[in-house]
């Protein structure tokens, strides 16, 4: 079955096997649920900091009310999700490969560098770094790609569409 890659609707866990991990105390949905509950708690707290509505405009729903309704709805759904996950047996969670973490770091570095060295220079670096990180060994191809792809982007966006791409702190 090579070449098959199907996305599980329950994330990266094996929920099909009743034997696997049946006695686990902490379910993966518990972690997600707690994070979401903390998030909506913070959102609810932020709604208390909204400006007061002038008396002339205060006849409708106050601006903080709708987000608060959503916070309650999300919290109720999260509780339902946690209860549902308790009724389901769950297998061990697959670890996230380190490559994902490295790739995520590279994406952040790319965006940070845009402000410093400009879009085109940062993109050139990214077009070299990511293929190499992912194990590309054809260095000549990497070089050609890193030179040509940003050039095409520049032609398309800067020349044809008239977008002023960021030049960075030094060039700008």
């Amino acid at each position: 079955m090579s070449g098959e890659r199907q996305e599980s609707t329950h994330g990266d866990t094996d929920t099909s096997s009743p034997a696997a991990g049946g006695g686990r105390w902490l379910h993966s949905d518990d972690v997600a649920g707690v994070v979401i509950l903390v998030f909506v708690g913070v959102v609810a707290a932020i709604t208390t900091t909204f400006d007061e509505v002038p008396a002339a405009l205060s006849q409708g729903i106050p601006p903080e009310q709708f987000p608060r309704i959503l916070v309650v709805v999300i919290a109720l759904l999260v509780v339902t999700m946690i209860v549902q996950s308790r009724l389901r047996r769950e297998g061990p969670r697959k670890r996230v490969p380190m490559m994902v973490l490295f790739t995520a770091c590279l994406l952040v570095v790319f965006v940070v560098l845009i402000d410093w060295i400009g879009m085109m220079a940062a993109m050139l670096g990214f077009c070299v770094a990511l293929p190499l990180l992912w194990g590309e060994k054809r260095f000549l191809w990497v070089g050609l790609y890193a030179a040509l792809f940003p050039a095409c982007i520049y032609l398309l966006f800067s020349m044809l569409l008239g977008v002023r791409l960021p030049l960075g702190l030094f060039m700008g």
Binding site: S2, L77, M123, W134
Partner: protein, 501 residues
């Protein structure tokens, strides 16, 4: 009659034909590549279309949508990896056919079924959308609130196994839509002092991040996956005998796909799965399914393409997206300063007929391209992922930036890309978040307007028959999947009990 004059004007306009051809070729290409979906491609392409006139811009995206849905079948059949989620069911029988040396026959059936499904749904769109718009023209704020709520409730059944997670995603999307200045009071919400956030979070960087950024990280997690390719042969038109065998399946699947497409939020993936099950249920030779049954290809392919036209019905007539890709198209309409919904039929009839014609022409074009060039398109999968995905992310960065030329949009895209990966890992699909984000403003504004009209008397909602109808449908949408699961498990238990006896 305007449809015929628009058809003639587009067929005689080389620029429009070129735009539709570009959308169709681009659609088949992104459909072919596993991981790249038509939703992601339309989101990535949207910033490019901002500088175009509205008619060619929307026609380009609509053509890409139609062709992208078909393109997924090529890799589903040849490498057992559906290029797009709606083609997942096609792989079940397409790949076994390819393994036994019938790739050309399988591709031919997929191409013809897709075209019939697509053309049928566009014809339904041409008839149904104006009728629905005429009804919706009488809708007030309470009806729109109930309709948007119904649209959100349908998220529960996008994926039957994680209804609650889909609803959480939808509610999270609506919450994101509250960022910015409250339109009735002028109070800033969740802007944290950033002036760029006063107009809210733009949905395009969110879409690009959720679909493009998160997929790049998913690809990073599966770099060791090697696709086993079946050498493609020339595509063959279905024989008379094959066509006789699948014509009933195609006819049923056209109806299933169009109906499911019309339901808000339900797209081609659900339609294809339902059509596959129905094809199997009606078949005399059920054992053949999974081993290379041609009905197993014709059913899902006709249905997922029929869902494209179906999904455009609520998108254009009501301003409620029928699927994730139509949510992007809806966004494109708004970016071009157009107001999707019934008013569009009065204000921009030529634009609408152009979209209909573009979709019709795209369906015919991808049939030609598929019959002649499936072999060539299949070779696109040979592009190394080490070069493809850096290009996708670089385009995502530049596309996000180009919209308002603000780095904040790039950060929004990156944040949602990283979040999107975590969402997927914990079983949350990105599509409901986008739906919620698109519908969020409509839900809040129509609720506020309704309550002003009703003088804060919530009970008055129940005095309007259309509102009550949508509320009932909302309850069905919310609890239907749970009830269905309960019924199915009960049925299976009974069946096991009967067999034991």
């Amino acid at each position: 009659m305007e449809i015929f004059s628009t058809l003639a004007s587009i067929l005689l306009d080389p620029y429009m034909l070129l735009v539709i051809l570009a959308g169709t070729v681009g659609g088949v290409l992104v459909g072919v590549l596993p991981g790249l979906s038509s939703t992601m491609a339309t989101a990535l392409l949207l910033p490019f279309t901002v500088t175009m006139e509205p008619i060619p811009a929307i026609s380009l995206l609509a053509a890409l949508y139609c062709a992208g849905t078909y393109g997924g079948s090529i890799t589903a059949i040849l490498i057992n990896a559906p290029g797009a989620p709606p083609a997942a069911a096609t792989a079940l029988d397409g790949y076994p056919m390819a393994v036994r040396g019938e790739a050309g026959r399988a591709l031919g059936i997929a191409t013809v079924s897709s075209t019939i499904g697509g053309v049928f749904s566009v014809l339904v769109l041409i008839v149904a959308a104006p009728l629905l718009a005429r009804i919706a023209y009488k809708f007030g704020a309470p009806e729109y609130f109930a309709l948007a709520l119904f649209g959100l409730s349908m998220l529960a059944s996008i994926s039957g196994k994680s209804s609650v997670k889909n609803l959480i995603g939808g509610a999270f999307g609506v919450l994101i839509a509250t960022v910015g200045v409250d339109f009735t009071t002028g109070v800033e919400r969740f802007t944290f002092g950033f002036p760029e956030l006063t107009e809210g979070i733009h949905f395009i960087p969110v879409m690009i991040g959720l679909f493009g950024g998160s997929e790049l990280l998913t690809q990073a997690a599966s770099l060791n996956v090697i696709y086993k390719r079946i050498a493609s042969v020339a595509v063959r038109l279905p024989s008379r005998e094959d066509f006789r065998k699948v014509r009933g399946v195609i006819a049923r699947s056209c109806g299933i796909g169009t109906f499911i497409g019309i339901l808000p939020a339900e797209g081609g993936t659900v339609a294809a799965m339902v059509a596959y099950n129905e094809a199997k249920r009606w078949s005399k030779d059920k054992a053949e399914f999974g081993n290379g049954a041609i009905e197993g290809i014709a059913g899902p392919e006709a249905a997922n393409n029929a869902a494209t036209g179906g999904a455009m019905v609520p998108t254009l007539a009501l301003g409620i997206p029928g699927s994730a890709t139509t949510a992007v198209i809806l966004g494109a309409l708004m970016v071009h300063g157009l107001r999707p919904g019934p008013h569009l039929f009065n204000e921009q009839p030529h634009l609408l007929y152009s979209i209909f014609v573009a979709m019709l022409v795209a369906n015919v074009m991808f049939m030609g391209l598929g019959m002649l060039g499936a072999k060539v398109f299949a070779r696109v999968t040979l592009i190394p992922r080490t070069f493809l995905w850096p290009s996708v992310f670089a385009l995502a960065v530049v596309g996000s930036y180009a919209l308002t030329q603000s780095m904040l949009d790039v950060w929004v895209m990156l944040t949602f890309g990283l979040l999107g990966f975590l969402f997927r890992r914990y079983g949350f699909s990105p599509a409901p978040i986008i739906m919620g984000l698109i519908l969020g403003e409509l839900v809040e504004n129509s609720l506020k307007q309704s309550l002003l009209i009703f003088d804060h008397n919530w009970l008055l909602f129940f005095e309007r028959p259309i509102v009550v109808m949508f509320f009932v449908l909302t309850l069905a949408g919310l609890f239907g999947p749970f009830l269905y699961q309960h019924l199915v498990s009960g049925f299976m238990k009974n069946r096991r009990g009967t067999l034991d006896e």
